[in-house]
């Protein structure tokens, strides 16, 4: 009889770009100059979209919206690493992921504008519609990954979720299934420090979220979630592993939600302005710009051109959004079943007769 040390574990933290935009050359992902510039362009586009969505909401032209501000690197770095055939399972927080994944901006606006047609996925990419119940979609991602294995197809699934979601039973079941079935899944946890008002230290007594993976038998890594190159790099590595049949990876992106939880929230009730200011200094978009400038890939003229271009794109999307006719009453009924059953047709017809004054 003896007592012996059975297991110890380590958790890696990955940062490629420091706060000043200086890159660690040993950790640089393989991205061409064109790709680096493209990544930055997406960050600027998504940020402009986010600002616009917030302002539309304030003016009563959009419903409740969950801002991405401060989390662009986490979302764009991950989405950029994926292929078209890979599946993405987003939440309400993931507008930037959706935009990078070719979801037309007008549809993202429609969705938050209370129009179901905004959920129609873009053609040619596998984006699941937004899931609102926190933590539930992790299991869907695992199932999609299992489907790849069964069909011997080369695609993986990205499960998007926040720090709060890691408390849900479903999310833990997702980790467990993924481990047991070695599913080609990437768990992308955007640890933005808060679940509405609840700080991450009240979600878990574990020091990192990344280490949770270890208990489920697969790799977890923490990355600087405000460093787009670190997120890209970790996602690309996880994807390669998934394709090779080596199972899931949990990527914890350490980041911060600069805005209120949603437009219905007032974050000043539960966190200090000083804390927010501290994180604003770590701005992911500014960091990437500094990096490009250091590499001589960027200058003020290019920035001005880009700003004008994204302004045009976002404005066009807004005009398009506001020109979309209101959905028809039929839309409430049409998609309940493959065929509209008699009892539902009657409910629809009765109601339409009433509103049409028959």
């Amino acid at each position: 009889m003896a007592e012996k040390l059975l297991k110890t574990f380590n958790v890696r933290h990955l940062q490629v770009l420091d706060d000043t935009g200086k890159a660690d050359s040993r950790l640089m992902p393989r991205l061409s100059a064109r790709q680096l510039v493209e990544l930055y362009g997406l960050m600027v586009l998504c940020r402009r979209f986010d600002e616009k969505a917030l302002s539309l909401q304030r003016q009563g032209r959009l419903g409740t919206y969950a801002s991405v501000l401060g989390q662009e690197a986490s979302q764009i770095g991950a989405a950029y690493a994926l292929g078209k055939a890979d599946w993405v399972f987003p939440t309400y927080r993931d507008a930037s992921i959706l935009i990078v994944r070719k979801q037309p901006m007008v549809r993202v606006l429609q969705y938050f504008g209370g129009d179901e047609r905004g959920s129609i996925p873009a053609e040619g990419v596998n984006n699941f519609p937004i899931s609102i119940p926190v933590g539930t979609q992790g299991l869907h991602a695992v199932g999609a990954g299992m489907a790849a294995t069964v069909q011997k197809k080369k695609f993986a699934a990205l499960a998007c979720f926040g720090d709060g979601a890691t408390s849900e039973g479903d999310m833990n079941e997702a980790f467990n299934f993924a481990g047991v079935f070695k599913a080609p899944v990437i768990f992308l946890c955007q640890n933005n420090q808060y679940a509405i008002s609840v700080p991450v230290k009240r979600q878990t007594a574990a020091e990192t979220i990344a280490q949770k993976a270890i208990a489920f038998g697969f790799e977890g890594i923490q990355v600087d979630g405000n460093d787009v190159l670190a997120v890209y790099s970790a996602t690309a590595a996880a994807l390669k592993k998934a394709y090779a049949g080596k199972g899931p990876t949990l990527i914890e992106c350490l980041t911060y939600r600069i805005q209120n939880h949603t437009t219905s929230d007032d974050a000043s009730k539960y966190r200090s302005a000083a804390e927010v200011e501290l994180w604003k200094k770590k701005d992911p978009v500014a960091r990437m710009r500094k990096f490009l400038e250091r590499k001589k890939l960027w200058d003020n003229r290019k920035e001005a051109e880009l700003a004008a271009k994204v302004e045009r794109q976002v404005s066009e999307a807004v005009s398009e959004y506001e020109a979309v006719p209101k959905p028809e009453v039929d839309d409430i009924f049409k998609y309940q079943y493959e065929e509209l059953p008699g009892f539902l047709r009657r409910q629809m017809d009765d109601y339409k007769n009433l509103v049409e004054g028959k």
Partner: protein, 322 residues
């Protein structure tokens, strides 16, 4: 007496219950520091401290599950589920355990917990924030289902629910949280569970509603000359059958207004009861005005989904003139 809206009345009810009984605790997502996303628990953390007002991890099954353990071990927990659309996550715990503890222990253990949750549509919210699925809780043996429609009743019913020894699903109509104000006592009082309220007496037709549809139904009465007797159920389970049947026997006509989908909704249960106990008094078929048998639409179409004043009046007049 002070003027309060429904959410203030809930807040006041929680405060009174906690002051009156040290075993009452509140737990849930954002209920502490933030005071709840609708402000139902505002000020409670400060007044009663973190041991009795617990910001929990984000896990509904967890919240209800630990509340069951707390209840059995001597506390009176009042978990908040942020929106009823997320109460499904805890349905297993509610049905398999909360509802059965008394029966399973042959009366030795009880499960005095009150799950508070906002429900109903019309608040321009995202998906899952607008549903009215009270019937799925009323269907479960062992659970009580209470749904207030006014500030006064909300506070009194909540205190009754907390004092009671059985598990209660307490559904609060979010659309009405700030819609009406009325005089509410500042101190503790109770409104009995299982007792409907005759909001307005009348002779020609019995109109039955509850929760989110009550105010609108009441307003609809201003647009008809039919002399309506309006009943607010207040409790779906145990149902006040006597008040319903007495009224229907008197008027001979009945309309039920519910926001929930039609099939298997609570209106169906009332119609069955009327059928069993008052059919020979009926002068017209019982009518129901309900939501559609569809998923609650996102907000651009939600006004179509919600039973309109026009639909309510039409049903009342058609039944009255049958």
């Amino acid at each position: 007496m002070v003027e309060m809206n429904l959410i203030q009345a809930v807040n006041s009810g929680l405060k009174c219950a906690m002051e009156g009984d040290a075993s009452v605790v509140v737990l849930g997502e954002d209920v502490g520091m933030d005071g709840g996303v609708f402000r139902a628990t505002e000020g409670l953390l400060k007044k009663f401290g973190p041991a009795r007002v617990m910001d929990t991890p984000l896990a509904e099954s967890g919240i209800v599950g630990v509340a069951i353990g707390m209840a059995v071990a001597g506390l009176r927990p009042v978990p908040e589920i942020q929106f009823s659309g997320f109460l499904y996550m805890a349905y297993g715990q509610l049905v398999n355990h909360a509802a059965r503890v008394r029966n399973r222990s042959r009366g030795k253990f009880t499960c005095p917990l009150v799950v508070r949750t906002p429900y109903s549509g019309g608040i321009r919210a995202l998906e899952h924030h607008s549903e009215s699925l009270e019937a799925i809780y009323a269907h479960v043996p062992g659970l009580k289902v209470v749904i207030p429609s006014s500030p006064y009743d909300a506070k009194g019913l909540l205190i009754s629910a907390i004092k009671g020894n059985d598990p209660v699903v307490f559904m609060e109509p979010s659309r009405l949280y700030r819609a009406v104000k009325e005089e509410v006592p500042e101190g503790s009082y109770t409104v009995p569970i299982g007792k409907a309220k005759i909001v307005k007496e009348g002779s020609q037709i019995t109109v039955i509603s509850w929760g989110s549809m009550l105010q609108q139904t009441r307003l609809a009465l201003n647009h008809t000359n039919v002399d309506v007797e309006l009943i607010d159920l207040r409790t779906l389970k145990p149902l006040d059958v006597e008040t319903i049947i007495t009224s229907v026997k008197k008027t001979g006509r009945c309309v039920i207004v519910q926001e929930a989908p039609r099939t298997g909704g609570f209106a169906s249960e009332i119609i069955a009861l009327v059928n069993e106990q008052a059919i020979f008094s009926l002068k017209a078929p019982v009518a129901r005005v309900t939501g559609f048998d569809t998923i609650f639409p996102l907000y651009k179409l939600e006004d179509h989904y919600l039973p309109s004043t026009e639909r309510i009046i039409n049903a009342i007049e058609a039944t009255a003139n049958y």
